[in-house]
């Protein structure tokens, strides 16, 4: 079976500095893959290339057999901060679309359904300044799903919320990924989060993939089973090895 998303990054440079080199990664449909690694190793840069925000690189990104040349509604991106537009209420933020006319017909129903899915049904008319950090990130997730993407990219999406909210948001992401049939590429610093959420954990070091660790555990997962701890320790060991080099 051919992969839904295939990345082949030969080189990505910022000036004279090469930040990504010979990165090849394939994601199967419905797969959840985490990217981990030390700060500055190129994780977020890779995500920006896949999102189409940066087109200045040597290589290719192929989605469903079609080479991409920029942003596409088939790929959604959720940032570290919710980045809600402060002058729009939650419903209008969720429904923010390049062509409002094209989504006008089912806009209200789709927004209501998405807000219901993320637990914000009663917050549709609130402004972003009236939301807590967790609520704002839920709204950002709903917005990321509005365009019906096939692939969802997340750049450290839960790093700014408290531990309990983070666990709730992680479970929300798993539920939504399953219900919407999403393929997910997640950048995170949190190894526990990576192994809990992912089918594979890809470790980047100095702009290269140094390990691709499968997490073959059934779902739903228990956060504290020995198998999950074992997977976490394996990824941690790889990171410690990178640091030791």
């Amino acid at each position: 079976m051919s992969a839904l998303l295939q990345l082949h990054i030969l080189h990505k440079r910022f000036g004279d500095r090469t930040v990504l080199r010979d990165v090849s990664l394939a994601l199967q449909e419905g797969e959840i893959v985490s990217l981990v690694g030390a700060s500055g190793c190129g994780k977020s840069t890779l995500l920006r290339l896949v999102a189409g925000l940066d087109r200045d690189f040597d290589g290719s990104i192929v989605l469903g057999g079609r080479r991409l040349h920029g942003v596409t509604p088939e790929i959604g991106l959720i940032f570290q901060e919710p980045r809600l537009l402060p002058w729009l209420n939650v419903a209008d933020n969720v429904a923010f679309h390049r062509d409002p006319g094209a989504v006008a017909a089912d806009r209200a129903a789709r927004v209501a359904s998405l807000l219901d899915e993320v637990g914000l049904r009663d917050a549709a008319q609130l402004l972003p300044k009236q939301l807590s950090g967790g609520m704002a990130q839920r709204a950002a997730i709903a917005r990321g799903l509005f365009q019906r993407p096939r692939v969802l990219l997340l750049d450290e999406p839960f790093s700014a919320v408290d531990a309990l909210t983070r666990m709730r948001l992680q479970d929300l992401l798993l539920r939504l990924a399953h219900e919407h049939g999403l393929t997910v590429l997640l950048v995170t610093h949190d190894i526990d989060e990576a192994v809990y959420l992912s089918d594979r954990v890809v470790t980047l070091g100095q702009g290269e993939i140094v390990a691709d660790t499968a997490v073959p555990l059934p779902r739903p997962r228990n956060r504290h089973t020995p198998a999950l701890a074992h997977a976490r320790d394996a990824v941690l060991q790889i990171l410690e090895d990178i640091l030791a080099i």
């Binding site: 999102a51 189409g52 925000l53 942003v71 596409t72 509604p73 959604g76 991106l77 940032f79 901060e81 980045r83 537009l85 402060p86 002058w87 729009l88 923010f96 679309h97 390049r98 637990g119 914000l120 049904r121 009663d122 917050a123 609130l126 402004l127 972003p128 300044k129 009236q130 939301l131 807590s132 967790g134 609520m135 839920r138 365009q147 309990l164 666990m167 709730r168 479970d171 929300l172 798993l174 539920r175 739903p220 997962r221 228990n222 956060r223 504290h224 089973t225 020995p226 701890a229 320790d233």
Partner: protein, 289 residues
């Protein structure tokens, strides 16, 4: 390993956390408005105290009323002016400010959009605008009188010049300081450059534009006085000149008071509009309601 030991200790709480409907937290804006209103009376203390002191000093003979008339006399003068042609002066000055401000602000918004959104336009216009901005207002007056005579036109042009630069600078600064992260979000949605400008950059620049509009209005009243002091037969600035020439400090003070009231009222109108349009802003001003 200590990590796995801890895991076994807290295993009872390890099940996936069920999704929870978030509770809605709405700020108590009514209470905030009440507390803001309850503080408003504080602003009246200093002016009332000053008026009382001047009134007492004039009655007790500490100051000469031909130099500083007591507030009661100024009030009488205003009442008597109402019986004459005060409304005409107020109407003429207000019309000049409204016309000049509307022209200046409209041109400033047009040029601000052009310069803020287009780097070529910025490189072309910005050095000239910066040089023009440095010219003191009164330096324009002789030139405007030569070009347009002493009719309404030079006054309105001078006021438009005064209003132009604060509005222009406010808008350009707002556009340049629009949050890069929001623009990046617009790019991921696939907005074109024009859509980005209209749907993200301009709304983000609104707070700065309103600051410019309010500063521009304040300067418009200032430039009105400059214009009417030099060549006018009607208007509040003319009242100032008339009071000085006839040695009537009560008329001068009445005119100053009128300018303060009109300036405050017009600024209050803009402030009201700003609050309505920027209710979304997460700032101390909008929180105070």
């Amino acid at each position: 390993m200590s990590r796995s030991h801890n895991a076994s200790v807290i295993a009872t709480s390890a099940a996936p956390v069920p999704p929870q409907r978030a509770s809605v937290r709405v700020p108590d804006s009514v209470q905030q408005r009440r507390s803001a209103a309850s503080l408003r009376w504080l602003g009246w203390i200093l002016p009332l105290l000053l008026l009382g002191l001047i009134e007492a000093a004039a009655h007790l003979g500490f100051v000469q009323s031909r130099l500083l008339p007591p507030p009661s006399e100024v009030a009488q003068t205003i009442c008597s002016l109402f019986g004459q042609d005060l409304w005409t002066h107020v109407a003429v000055s207000s019309a000049r400010v409204v016309s000049g401000y509307a022209i200046g602000a409209a041109l400033a918004i047009a040029f601000g959009l052009l310069v803020g959104l287009n780097p070529y336009a910025e490189a072309f216009f910005e050095p000239t605008f910066q040089a023009l901005r440095a010219i003191p207002s009164l330096a324009w007056v002789p030139l405007l009188l030569l070009w347009f005579g002493i009719d309404e036109t030079p006054k309105i042009v001078l006021i438009a010049i005064g209003a132009f630069f604060p509005v222009y600078l406010g808008l350009v600064s707002g556009i340049h300081n629009a949050d890069r992260k929001l623009i990046e979000f617009g790019e991921i949605v696939g907005l074109s450059r024009l859509q980005l400008a209209r749907r993200i950059v301009l709304p983000a620049a609104l707070p700065s534009l309103f600051t410019g509009l309010r500063n521009g209005l304040s300067l418009a009243w200032m430039f009105l006085v400059a214009a009417e002091l030099i060549a006018a037969t009607r208007g509040i600035g003319y009242l100032l000149t008339d009071g000085r020439e006839t040695s009537r400090p009560d008329v001068v003070l009445a005119a100053i008071l009128l300018l303060a009231i009109l300036g405050r009222l017009s600024d209050g109108l803009l402030k009201w509009l700003e609050k309505r349009k920027l209710a979304w802003a997460d700032s101390l001003a909008t929180r105070a309601g």
